[in-house]
């Protein structure tokens, strides 16, 4: 294949510049141009260094951000730096006796210039030896392996053959991930969380039949996988206990596909196939499970994660608003100008204003950040704040977008987008409860409970959750997993604890992980014992009442109380994590909001969702009767960025 000409690269570079609304030609566009030409050398070199072109392009875009709608100059001028680089490239071409710059010359020039954004991004992504990289450019032959499937024989374990459909796309990615092995065996599928991710346990095999240690492979949308890789790099990598699951390889994200994959390598022990906690539920007693969580999981990650405990005082919405359904779902219809009677939303968002907005109103959203992109359904989710990990509260979903015409990427700040309200959060929550076929009036302020424990009525969470969101929490901040449930806690050798799935890892409210885990236990351990009717849910609640008072459930096998002994152990962990001894309101505010969120998960069994609604009611009841919300007692809020000196 002939060398790719400059003209070809410039076309791609200009397209990138337009897409990003930059309207100039800089080093970043030239580099993206090099990465997007079919069969280009830049992208295959990067892949040899374990970086996918998408990952690099996404990183460059994130670093630079999209330009504004206003064009301040005509045409697409070159930046001074781009001119310098093109000069260098021209010299390289002339030295080799050519009149025209080709892709190798340009790539060399960009890397040798050394100070431009693409080079800075590459270095941040781990390519530190740029001169060595440059050397490889002229050694590299053109290859077109990208669309070829490496031949790796795939054996399915008997269990999988029966009931699992592995799609062609998934198989393709799996083969790419294990391209250096002649054969792999897909052992089992792990019960995932509530995202669309698929997890497999895979054992790689050598030609002579030797087995390597099994690994866990996660397949998900390219954007989610790339995001998880970044989170792993920022929050997880340096803070893991010595023996646990790691992301050793870079993600595999082929150009022409919407899904990508990553591998969690379980460093310790290759003697048996890794199992997640859900898989052992039938073998372990609830109390045994609980004490394992407390005595294995908590200590092994606690020192570097949950016990960091820096004081953190916040309003509940800052940490929990994003869990709930979008505050608004808007339909985009190409309107550029807000009509007079329309609403404008910008930070800080006033709840009063938000509550005045109804179905059919036209709303302009200003300076929100793109938090999630769903190209397959033409939707994006916006949130306030900027940066990848800023408070992503006040989620707003915008539908009906045309992705052929406009590009959106995570982290981008949108100056303004206008849409018509299709659904509000309150409506969506009401629908979620209605779908559970309540045997009570779900629009009333109070819902019936139980005379047996002396609490006849509980507050309706739908009526008071906003108050919760506004309340202040005196808590602590730590590195957290962000999506802790029985499906991503793995059992290693000697029953040691492993965690996988770092898609939501971040610095956040310490106690959030335990709320998630309690919910997971309620769903997987308690609900199956209790049953799925509203009466069953109320019966579980009757047993949670003493638990909230710190009473350990009795030991009658196969009873609800017996199952709840696992939750009791989680509460013991929480007790150690509370910022102030005995101040359970910190946990309750978080738990109530997390339950309300779980109630909306459509892939959760209906019985579990009913239980979630009831637990939210009970927890809010506890808050209302035993604690004053929004107490103004101050904790210092950490502020890592404030490094002002006495100037």
């Amino acid at each position: 294949m002939a060398n790719i000409s400059l003209k070809h690269i410039l076309i791609n570079a200009q397209q990138e510049s337009y897409k990003m609304r930059h309207f100039y030609l800089g080093a970043e566009h030239l580099f993206v141009g090099l990465l997007t030409v079919q069969g280009g050398i830049a992208s295959s070199l990067l892949q040899e260094h374990g970086l996918t072109p998408e990952y690099v392009i996404d990183s460059i875009r994130r670093k630079i951000g999209k330009g504004s709608h206003h064009r301040l100059w005509a045409g697409i001028p070159n930046t001074p730096r781009a001119d310098v680089m093109l000069d260098i490239a021209r010299e390289i071409a002339l030295e080799s006796g050519r009149n025209e710059i080709d892709e190798r010359d340009l790539l060399t020039a960009i890397l040798e210039e050394g100070e431009n954004i693409p080079v800075r991004v590459l270095m941040a992504l781990g390519i530190e030896d740029i001169p060595a990289f440059v050397k490889q450019i002229y050694e590299k032959e053109h290859v077109t392996t990208d669309t070829e499937t490496p031949f790796v024989e795939v054996e399915l374990s008997p269990q999988l053959e029966q009931d699992e459909d592995i799609t062609k796309e998934q198989l393709f990615i799996i083969r790419r991930m294990f391209f250096s092995y002649p054969k792999i065996r897909i052992e089992r599928r792990l019960m995932g969380g509530y995202s669309e991710a698929v997890l497999f346990v895979i054992t790689p095999l050598h030609g002579d039949g030797r087995q390597d240690a099994s690994v866990v492979v996660k397949l998900d949308s390219t954007a989610s996988i790339l995001d998880e890789t970044r989170r792993y790099e920022s929050f997880v990598k340096r803070t893991l206990p010595p023996m646990t699951a790691r992301l050793e390889d870079r993600p595999v994200a082929p150009d022409n596909m919407t899904i990508a994959g990553i591998k969690y390598t379980l460093i310790a022990g290759s003697d048996r196939i890794p199992q997640d906690l859900r898989a052992v539920l039938t073998d372990w007693q609830p109390a045994e499970l609980g004490s394992w969580l407390r005595n294995e999981l908590f200590p092994s990650f606690g020192r570097i994660w949950w016990r960091q405990s820096r004081p953190y005082r916040f309003q509940a919405w800052q940490e929990y608003d994003w869990l709930l359904p979008p505050v608004l779902t808007l339909e985009y219809n190409g309107v550029k100008k807000l009509p007079e009677e329309g609403f404008t939303l910008k930070f800080p968002v006033k709840r009063q204003k938000l509550n005045a907005i109804e179905y059919g109103d036209v709303v302009a959203v200003n300076n929100f950040t793109v938090y999630k992109v769903y190209p397959e359904r033409g939707a994006i989710q916006l949130a306030v704040g900027s940066g990848s990990d800023a408070a992503h509260a006040y989620k707003i979903e915008v539908r009906n977008l045309n992705f052929e015409q406009d590009t959106y990427y995570r982290g981008e700040v949108i100056d303004q987008i206008i849409g018509t309200v299709w659904q509000t959060r309150n409506q969506q929550l009401m629908h979620a409860v209605r779908a559970l076929e309540p045997d009570f009036n779900h629009e009333a302020d109070k819902i019936p409970f139980s005379t047996r424990v002396g609490i006849e009525k509980l507050p309706n969470p739908l009526k008071v959750y906003e108050e919760l969101l506004d309340s202040y929490v005196n808590g602590s901040l730590s590195t957290i997993h962000g999506d802790l449930h029985l499906g991503n806690i793995m059992i290693g050798p000697n029953n040691s604890a492993f965690l996988i799935d770092f898609a939501h890892s971040r610095d956040g409210h310490t106690i959030f992980d335990w709320c998630s885990l309690e919910i997971s236990l309620l769903r997987d351990v308690i609900m199956p014992v209790a049953g799925s009717t509203w009466d069953d849910a109320r019966e579980v609640l009757e047993h949670i009442v003493p638990l909230n008072r710190g009473e350990i459930p009795d030991n009658e096998e196969a009873s609800i109380a017996f199952a709840l002994s696992s939750v009791a152990q989680v509460r013991k962990i929480v007790e150690e994590c509370l910022y102030r001894e005995g101040q359970w309101s910190e946990y309750y505010v978080a738990l109530a909001l997390c339950c309300l969120r779980a109630m909306t998960w459509e892939n959760m069994p209906i019985g579990a969702r009913r239980l979630m609604f009831m637990v939210a009611s009970l927890i809010i009841y506890e808050l209302q009767t035993s604690y004053t919300l929004t107490d103004d007692d101050d904790t210092a809020s950490p502020d890592a960025t404030d490094i002002s000196t006495n100037f």
């Binding site: 100059w73 930046t79 920022s234 940066g387 982290g411 960025t641 000196t645 100037f647």
Partner: protein, 119 residues
């Protein structure tokens, strides 16, 4: 006393442009042993970033004081940032006045810049 400094634009449409600042040409202001260079979108600024709509009219200041450089954010709308050592993709906002090293990158609106070492 004459002061002199070179700034280089490190991103955007003027990426690679070198701006020479010196008191002889009336750049900056000297007040109480401090030489201050203003950065913003308005023409009156010493460093005028008129091509970046994310830059406020008066966005940030560079100060030379006590034999070193300082960076100040003037309550700008979109903020002034420095690179974050632990996460390259999550820039760290500047609050108040912070010390700035020669060669260290900082961002005003969407424009990255740095102070050049003068040979």
């Amino acid at each position: 006393m004459d002061f002199k400094v070179n700034l280089m634009i490190m991103s955007g449409v003027k990426d690679g442009a070198l701006l020479e600042m010196q008191t002889e040409n009336g750049d900056g202001q000297i007040k109480n042993d401090r030489w201050s260079i203003s950065i913003g979108r308005k023409d009156e600024n010493d460093v005028c970033l008129r091509n970046d709509t994310f830059v406020s009219r008066q966005h940030a200041n560079l100060h030379w004081k006590d034999r070193r450089w300082w960076l100040e954010d003037c309550d700008s709308t979109n903020g002034t940032f420095i690179e974050n050592e632990t996460n390259y993709f999550d820039d760290q906002p500047v609050k108040g006045i912070i010390p700035l090293e020669i060669g260290q990158l900082f961002r005003v609106g969407r424009t990255w810049m740095r102070i050049q070492a003068i040979g």
